[in-house]
């Protein structure tokens, strides 16, 4: 594909993608604003941490925030998330028609992020107003400055706080014997707000669209609770809402048949790897009980998605809530969100997905 004035090879096969991920010295992430195919220098002002760094710094940066991103492994946190999702779905099922993107997926993502970052639930109301994309409006106009102002205000307000929210903890954090700079903290927060936003929203919307088209799927899940787990991984594989992450080559490198000049870039194409027919049987189908599913929907290697546990918990809770509450989903209107690049276009989710939900007469299974 063409990006930033260069032809950039995309790595497509599952094991090839993994090998590039593993070799972080050759394929570096130490290239601010360039972690996606098209530079984000025009929509954000800071390097994102920890993703836009390499070891050994990356290891230490990541360790600072990992405790937050492990919170979804806690049993009480899981119960709280199930309650949040149950209530969100129940509310969405009341009206005759609901836009799943703006009225279910976006609030769900924002309210669950407030829990992850251990901040007051009311903060999510502002985050919801930002819409699906935190950096750009639908027409591409940058709104990154609003996020930057918000983040800097939160760190300033948390100065001296002994609380255990994301902002206070990063204010107190020690990194290699010093405090983090405001720019570093800003970069962490930027990643936290942008990283799992549109991806979670698109996955939730796509799941609802799938069950609208395949109503028998919910009955299939209800027959065996273990299928909640396999279906979660399958939707992560199948939807793969993030098309590519990019690595930069500080020195000349070779990927398969492609020669990369020093300073050149290589794209890792997650959805392609996740549909690799040499690794997945029926790769273009949703197989809800796929028991061997070595997908890279959360990346691979040292930069694997920090928010994976949160995303998994949201999806598992959503599937559980759908099984408990919903008899059928009627599709009213679907406007896909299409990503267009020089060498491909693909649907990553929905701009709008209007549905109505039919509740089950007897809930819980």
């Amino acid at each position: 594909m063409r990006a930033e004035g260069q032809e950039m090879p995309l790595v497509l096969r599952l094991q090839d993608v993994r090998k590039v991920c593993k070799d972080w010295k050759t394929f570096s992430s130490d290239d601010p604003f360039m972690i996606v195919p098209h530079s984000e220098a025009n929509v954000r002002s800071v390097r994102q941490y920890p993703i836009e760094t390499d070891p050994p710094d990356h290891t230490d940066y990541r360790a600072l925030v990992e405790p937050f991103f492990r919170r979804p492994n806690d049993a009480d946190y899981q119960l709280g998330m199930q309650q949040l999702v149950d209530e969100a779905l129940a509310a969405a099922a009341i009206p005759d028609s609901v836009d799943v993107v703006s009225e279910l997926a976006l609030p769900l993502q924002s309210r669950s992020l407030a829990r992850l970052l251990n901040v007051d639930d009311s903060e999510a109301n502002l985050w919801i107003s930002w819409g699906t994309h935190v950096f750009k409006e639908g027409d591409g106009v940058s709104k990154g400055a609003e996020l930057s102002s918000y983040i800097r205000e939160k760190f300033e307000a948390a100065e001296g706080s002994e609380a255990h929210d994301f902002f206070s903890v990063l204010n107190r954090a020690d990194f290699q014997g010093r405090k983090l700079t405001l720019e570093e903290k800003h970069g962490f927060a930027n990643m936290a707000f942008a990283g799992g936003r549109d991806t979670v929203i698109h996955t939730v919307s796509s799941i609802i669209a799938h069950f609208a088209a395949h109503p028998e799927g919910l009955d299939f899940l209800r027959q065996d609770p273990a299928r909640i787990i396999t279906a979660t991984e399958e939707f992560v594989r199948y939807v793969s809402p993030l098309t590519a992450i990019v690595r930069s080559c500080p020195h000349s490198a070779k990927v398969l048949d492609a020669e990369i000049a020093p300073g050149g870039r290589v794209g890792l194409c997650w959805p392609s790897a996740n549909r690799d027919e040499t690794a997945f049987t029926k790769p273009d189908e949703v197989v809800l009980d796929r028991s061997i599913n070595p997908h890279v929907g959360f990346g691979f290697g040292i930069h694997k998605c920090l928010g994976a546990a949160q995303a998994r918990l949201i999806i598992r809770s959503l599937l559980q809530a759908l099984c408990n509450q919903i008899e059928a989903i009627h599709l009213i209107e679907a406007i896909p969100e299409i990503e267009q690049e020089s060498s491909f276009e693909r649907q990553v989710g929905f701009k709008r997905l209007r549905t109505s939900f039919k509740l089950r007469s007897s809930q819980h299974f």
């Binding site: 787990i229 979660t232 991984e233 061997i292 599913n293 070595p294 929907g297 691979f300 546990a309």
Partner: protein
């Protein structure tokens, strides 16, 4: 029923009895340090990487293709490596000792 001994990355021995599931689920249910099982057992996350005692390799068996491809790129991978999620608990594994690789 099988009695499995897990040796955690910091050297602690945890003995677990299980009659179903896998070496991953038995470890997670008993909070064995170093085994997370993040993907729930579908061979996607490799957070259940273990080393099998050499004397037990024949009984445990080799990794499948998908698992072997994962292990090829895992830190600490050796010929004794398996992903716990891909090893079902069965009676002939009674007495097995595994070392948790961890991260």
């Amino acid at each position: 029923m099988a009695r499995i001994t897990y040796i955690t990355p910091d050297g602690q021995q945890v003995v677990v009895e299980a009659s179903s599931g896998s070496l991953m689920t038995a470890a997670v249910q008993n909070q064995v340090d170093g085994i997370e099982g993040a993907c729930g057992g579908v061979c996607s996350c490799a957070t259940c990487h273990i080393h099998i005692d050499a004397a037990w390799m024949d009984r445990v068996g080799p990794a499948g293709d998908a698992e072997a491809a994962m292990l090829e790129l895992e830190d600490g991978s050796t010929s004794a490596s398996r992903l716990g999620c891909q090893v079902p608990i069965r009676p002939e594994l009674d007495g097995l000792t595994v070392r948790v690789v961890g991260r």
